[in-house]
């Protein structure tokens, strides 16, 4: 039988997936990106600096990563690096945004796949917001409203957590996380001007001259965010992980992990997260020449050679309506707007797991290894369990923990009243690469300028392009497709397991297709 979920909600954007199920086990899977805008081609002819503002708008959840990658790509073409304040303010604005993104992903998007929201009906305490939520849900159910208690119901039925304390605690944190996320966005706005879509992160630094007040305000917000993350978010992740130990071996990808260097220390030029590729359990350093994109199963006209390196090869043309219908009705036709990037020809999982596993293997961040060893002992897992549903959630908690330390370090290093930006001319006929990590994984921008400094060519290979990619020309499944295969489904009418698996990879579909 076939199980199709379309649309999958509580992710960014438009995603459909279809699975073939035999005796309640998934034997095949297809993931489809369902929305296309064509921003790379549209950028041609725009001033190179426009890329920062436009590309971050491929995504309203991780715009910071695109702003950063676009600025790095142009800095690479310019052959420059920002001043110390410039590097620090990028770290701080982007780092604060990472923390917001981790909370959004865990609480808003994923938590209610595990936490039982109806547990609120048995709430006996006196906390105002919870009492209000309880009386609202019960009156909704009693009054027989149309879709009572929406948006929290209806939902898939399934094995939600039974423990009342864990449920109530997490529901309270679900509500509180919204306030903390707003605070984290304010931290971004202090140096980025606004969030979403921070404008100040440019090639050459950040256009801000930080004041003592800016630094003090950022520190004060950081303290309350830190308290929430350490005392609530991380324990909630661990509680959910402990309640579902089997999810450390569910939703397993091919296990090849790719990450880019992230979070530069301006004083040592070293990165807190090393980057690299782990293939068959063997770690190797990063080589961007090994990256190619395939489009055999993507909704673009076929080119003779259906894979190419970024900036090389012709620009892809989207299928028209008729071609699209033909492909859809074909047996082995194209099925996604997402393209299929491959590293050394292999599908690679990207994301917090890749940052942790590659960082652990590189061994350059003792704090990272210490945390991993500690959680492995506490939860009875090994580093090989990380590319799983719970491994992904746990990796986000570890990433958040490490980022808190880095933000505390760097806010103290900012030099007040020193402009964090230096102007440099946009270079002509030059190429540049900008690599960073969004929370959901490895993000690369490639730019080429023409003889007037306008954009001649622009390419983005985005975390979700890796994770939710369709098959490549060899027919290898994308990482998320592989995650679904082998999953046992308790109730085909309520495929909660499949939704949990896909959500654990934190898809950002608007990003992935762009």
């Amino acid at each position: 039988m076939k199980i199709t979920v379309d649309p999958l909600t509580r992710i960014e954007g438009h995603l459909k997936f279809t699975t073939e199920v035999k005796e309640n086990i998934v034997v095949d899977a297809h993931c489809s990106g369902e929305m296309f805008r064509g921003i790379e081609k549209a950028l041609i002819g725009h001033d190179a600096r426009v890329a920062q503002q436009v590309t971050q708008r491929v995504c309203g959840v991780c715009p910071y990563g695109h702003a950063e990658a676009a600025s790095y790509a142009l800095e690479d073409a310019m052959g420059i690096q920002p001043n110390r304040n410039g590097i620090l303010l990028k770290n701080l604005a982007v780092g604060a945004y990472h923390l917001q993104d981790y909370l959004l992903h865990f609480y808003t998007l994923c938590a209610l796949d595990y936490i039982d929201i109806t547990a609120i009906l048995n709430y006996k305490g006196k906390v105002e917001s919870l009492v209000a939520l309880k009386s609202w849900v019960s009156s909704e159910l009693k009054n027989n409203s149309v879709y009572p208690a929406a948006p929290f119901l209806p939902r898939y039925s399934g094995d939600y957590i039974n423990d009342q304390d864990i449920n109530i605690g997490a529901i309270a944190h679900y509500l509180e996380s919204i306030e903390i996320m707003a605070k984290l966005h304010k931290m971004v706005a202090i140096f980025g001007a606004k969030a979403p879509h921070p404008v100040t992160i440019e090639a050459g630094g950040v256009t801000v001259t930080p004041s003592v007040q800016d630094i003090a305000l950022f520190s004060s917000y950081l303290q309350s965010a830190e308290s929430f993350i350490r005392n609530k978010f991380i324990p909630d992740v661990v509680a959910v992980a402990s309640a579902y130990p089997s999810y450390f071996s569910e939703g397993v990808s091919q296990g090849n992990l790719l990450s880019y260097p992230y979070y530069k220390d301006p004083d040592t030029n070293k990165f807190a997260f090393a980057g690299g590729a782990s293939i068959n359990g063997q770690y190797q350093s990063l080589d961007t020449k090994k990256i190619q994109e395939h489009h055999k199963y993507s909704y673009y006209s076929n080119l003779p050679d259906s894979s190419h390196s970024p900036l090389d090869g012709p620009i892809l043309t989207p299928l028209n309506e008729q071609e699209f219908e033909t492909e859809k009705n074909k047996k082995d036709g194209k099925y996604s707007w997402t393209r299929a990037p491959r590293y050394s020809g292999l599908p690679m999982e990207v994301g917090p797991v890749a940052r942790i596993v590659n960082g652990y293997a590189a061994g350059n961040n003792p704090q990272l290894n210490k945390r991993v060893d500690q959680y492995n002992k506490q939860l009875g897992i090994t580093i090989d369990n990380y590319h799983s549903v719970m491994g992904r959630h746990l990796s986000r908690a570890i990433n958040a923990d490490l980022l808190l330390q880095l933000l505390n370090r760097d806010i103290a290093r900012v030099e007040p009243n020193q402009l964090a930006f230096e102007e440099h001319a946009v270079p002509k006929n030059r190429r540049g690469i900008g690599l960073t990590e969004a929370t959901r994984g490895a993000l690369g921008h490639w730019i080429e300028t023409d003889n007037k400094g306008y954009i001649k060519r622009y390419e983005m290979i985005v975390p979700t392009t890796w994770n939710i990619s369709p098959r490549d020309r060899q027919g290898q499944l994308g990482p998320a497709e592989q995650m679904l295969v082998g999953t046992k489904i308790a109730d085909p009418n309520n495929p909660l397991e499949l939704a949990r698996i896909i959500r654990s990879s934190d898809p950002c579909m608007a990003c992935s297709v762009h």
Partner: protein
Amino acid sequence: MTNMSRRVFLKKIYHAMVVCGAAQFISFSELLKAADKKDDNKPYIIWLHGTSCSGCSTSFLDLEGIPVVDIITKFSRIMFHPDLSLATGNTVIEMMNHISASNIPYILVVEGGIPVELPHACLIGDKPFKYWVSKLASGASACVGAGTCATLGGIPAMHGTDTGSVTLQAYLESQQIKSPVINIPSCPMRPEHLAYTLLHIVYQGTPPKLDKKNRPIKFFGSTVHERCVYYADYQEDRFATRIGESGCLLKLGCQGPVTRNDCLINGHNGNTNTCIRAGHPCIGCASEHFPRRIMLHSYNDKRAMTNKKYQWRES
């Protein structure tokens, strides 16, 4: 809730309404009365994503003063939101079919553009996004365009794109769908603007006063330039010649004169900052010209602002 705690709660909400500018059309005693209304008066909200980035949705979660959970439980009913709803897959399709066939009053919020030339460039449940907009807009008591993509074109309709992405209003006009449209541009949409608009509809029964482009005049009545901290510098011809200098940013590419928004009065993220205060020229994210061919440039670059050649779009 006891009468006392309810009063305290409503005081809190009233304070929040003062913050977001809604207090001018509703007094505290009116709010007390309004809150006594039956639940039936709370409008249902259906929020859809077209060629969007979800930025307006994440921005809405940042709403100051009124907790989002109160919006959900006390002031409206969010029947469907792609990032909040536990409903997923076919249930969502059933919900949308059910509500469009019923007589339940609801407000449709559309984030992102509507691709009409490549309709398959945005699909929900294997059907083009425009199908859902047509289906749900005709029965909606109001249609709200959230953000620049849905209201002025923005990124999905930028120069060089192929999908033929159009705004909510243009699409409804092309389909002769007559439901009232309220446009809330800005990239992303500012959460106070939507909260104010929704509260106005809930308590007054009508949208706030709109300009000829259907934007609430309260927020889009003046340009960024007119409210700018550097307006006096502009009048005195004091222009910044590079980033970091004090003075009007016009000659570095500032779009303030052609952008209508209230961000210089009430800054982003609960008045934490503004682009101009952060040293960056306005990029015109709420303007018809967004995104322009050039946004930030060197001093006295002739390619900027007034030169039509470097503008992709007519206003």
